[in-house]
Amino acid sequence: MNFSGLIQDFGPLTITGLAQGAIIALFALGYTLVYGVLRLINFAHSEVFLLGTFACIWAWELFGLDQNTAIPSVPAVIGLLVLGLVAAIVLSGVTALGVEFIAYRPLRKRNAPPLAFLITAIGASLFISETMGVITQRNIRAVPALIHPRDVFVIGNMHVTNLQILIIVLALVMMFVLDRFINSSRLGRGIRAVAQNPDSAALMGVNKGRVISLVFLLGGLMAGIAAVMYDLKVGVTRFDAGFLLGIEAFTAAVLGGIGNLRGALVGGLLLGLLQNYAASLFGTEWLHAASFVLLVLILLVRPTGLLGESLGRARA
């Protein structure tokens, strides 16, 4: 164990951890939203994210950008960023809706048992990621360089870059907006009603199908944003990027209390930090093991996650 390393690098590890955690948190929202309403682990959510990472790259490539082109001017960068976000959000949103429509809706209509949903979710996930695998020949896809990381401020050896700030701020803002929406809007209440008792919700005049679609869509939007952040941060994507990060996002969702939006944020940030600290302390190879150990420990003390379940339960 390398304590001195951890102490020495504490600053840089913290900031990278937060940026990583912010992306995980946005990604985790999709799991939490769908789980909260349908009690379903939407395995295919990782592919919703995955397609977002590709959509953004495709959009930029349309403008002739690739990773070997020079960084465009500031206004162009802003425009491209917005374009990338829109592309990712649209494709992720459409994918989320599509998955719901093709893989879940037919099952719901047939009143299938919960496990069946889990398996179609796995099927959809496999199908999408493997198809992408074939299309991209399992190669990585590089992201054009858009933002040149520049230190915005430095504390000790902690260099906080413009990119990190962008990621963290955007994630927080999105979380806030979503939280407001779910908790204070009428539709938000409808979502919670469907979560708690679908039949009764119908008797109150809630359109279940629409609510479910909405939930998938919201999850997709958040995943789309997460995807762009991921592209900017990691610089490449690959057909299995969704699966890899998806496990972490799902862990984060559970850690915070699945079904609880704020839990996803807490879980995501915590996981991002912990992974970086653990990587420094034990070595990068133990990074994932550390997050699972943390998960088990937390669930032992709080069997429903740090903040507890909430979308389907008490007050969100």
Partner: protein
């Protein structure tokens, strides 16, 4: 998904009750002035003693220093307005909740803090106010789960089909079918529980509880959802159960039924005991009339 919602304690603990299995904060029961074990209790005359039990949910005091005791072989009524704490009392007795203070003794032995299945095997069985069956198991299987409470077939004897397995399987099955007949739904033995109508489900619950071979049977509003004629049958059924030697504790709002069948009654209001006595005594008690009965019973 479309089932009527069943209240589960997991949901209940969203507030601050403390279901026993999650009693992380060293849920010590502070015995408030608990009465010593009486001779009657020791002799087995008294089956169950609820001793000064208080149970709080955050601000709500669901049970407030409630004490009463059940004698062996009687039918005992527990009544009171909605939200008086009757179901909570059952939950405390069957280990679902742990009393904030006070003690509960069954056959002279404290059952506070015991595991739920231990309490059941010890001889207390119950039904639920909001039906809680095993929805995808057949009616017969539901009852057999109850019957299994006293079986000893181990994983090993089930694995190798030792004689005990055959013996218990056969007797359990026969007994379960008898019980289904006893509550009047034997024709639906092969139907999965969720497909039964509400009334049928309530009957199934009684059969399942009986299958555990209880000394004390606790029925939480068994007649809800029955029409008067059916209640009449239920009344006979409860008597029949008692006649087989089972003590019955009954929560019920139907006064005709309660008055007709119970030997003694305790009345709760706002978690406090406000009266205790024979049906006749209780019926004429002004406090009970004011709090609960309103106009002297709806005798038709």
């Amino acid at each position: 998904m479309s089932e009527p919602h069943i209240e589960t304690p997991q949901e209940a603990d969203a507030a601050n009750a403390r279901p026993v299995d999650q009693a992380a904060p060293t849920g010590k029961t502070t015995a408030v002035a608990s009465t010593p074990v009486s001779d009657e209790e020791r002799s087995g005359e008294v089956l169950l003693v609820v001793d000064n039990v208080t149970l709080r949910f955050g601000g709500v005091v669901a049970l407030n220093e409630v004490s009463f005791s059940l004698r062996k072989g009687e039918i005992f009524g527990l009544i009171g307005p909605n939200g008086a704490g009757k179901t909570t009392c059952f939950n405390a007795m069957t280990g679902v909740y742990r009393p904030t203070s006070g003690g509960i003794r069954f056959q002279g032995e404290s059952i506070v803090g015991k595991k739920k299945h231990e309490i059941t095997r010890g001889g207390i069985a119950r039904t639920f106010q909001n039906v809680r069956l095993f929805p995808e198991m057949t009616a017969l299987e539901n009852v057999m789960v109850g019957a299994d409470a006293h079986h000893k077939t181990s994983v090993i004897s089930a694995l190798f089909r030792l004689p005990r397995f055959w013996r218990e399987e056969r007797s359990g099955r026969d007994r379960s079918l008898q019980l289904l007949r006893f509550v009047g739904i034997h024709e639906r033995a092969g139907e999965v529980a969720r497909n039964l109508s509400y009334g049928e489900q309530r009957r199934l619950e009684i059969a399942r509880a009986l299958a555990t071979n209880p000394t004390l049977l606790c029925l939480d509003e068994p007649a809800a959802g029955f029409n008067p004629a059916e209640k009449e049958d239920l009344l006979a059924l409860i008597r029949k159960i008692r006649d087989t030697g089972v003590t019955v504790l009954l929560i019920e709002h139907d006064m005709r039924l309660v008055m007709g069948v119970t030997d003694r009654i305790v009345v709760l209001e706002f978690g406090k005991k406000i009266a205790e006595g024979t049906p006749a005594e209780v019926r004429d008690n002004p406090a009970v009339i004011a709090a609960y009965l309103g106009v002297p019973t709806d005798a038709a």
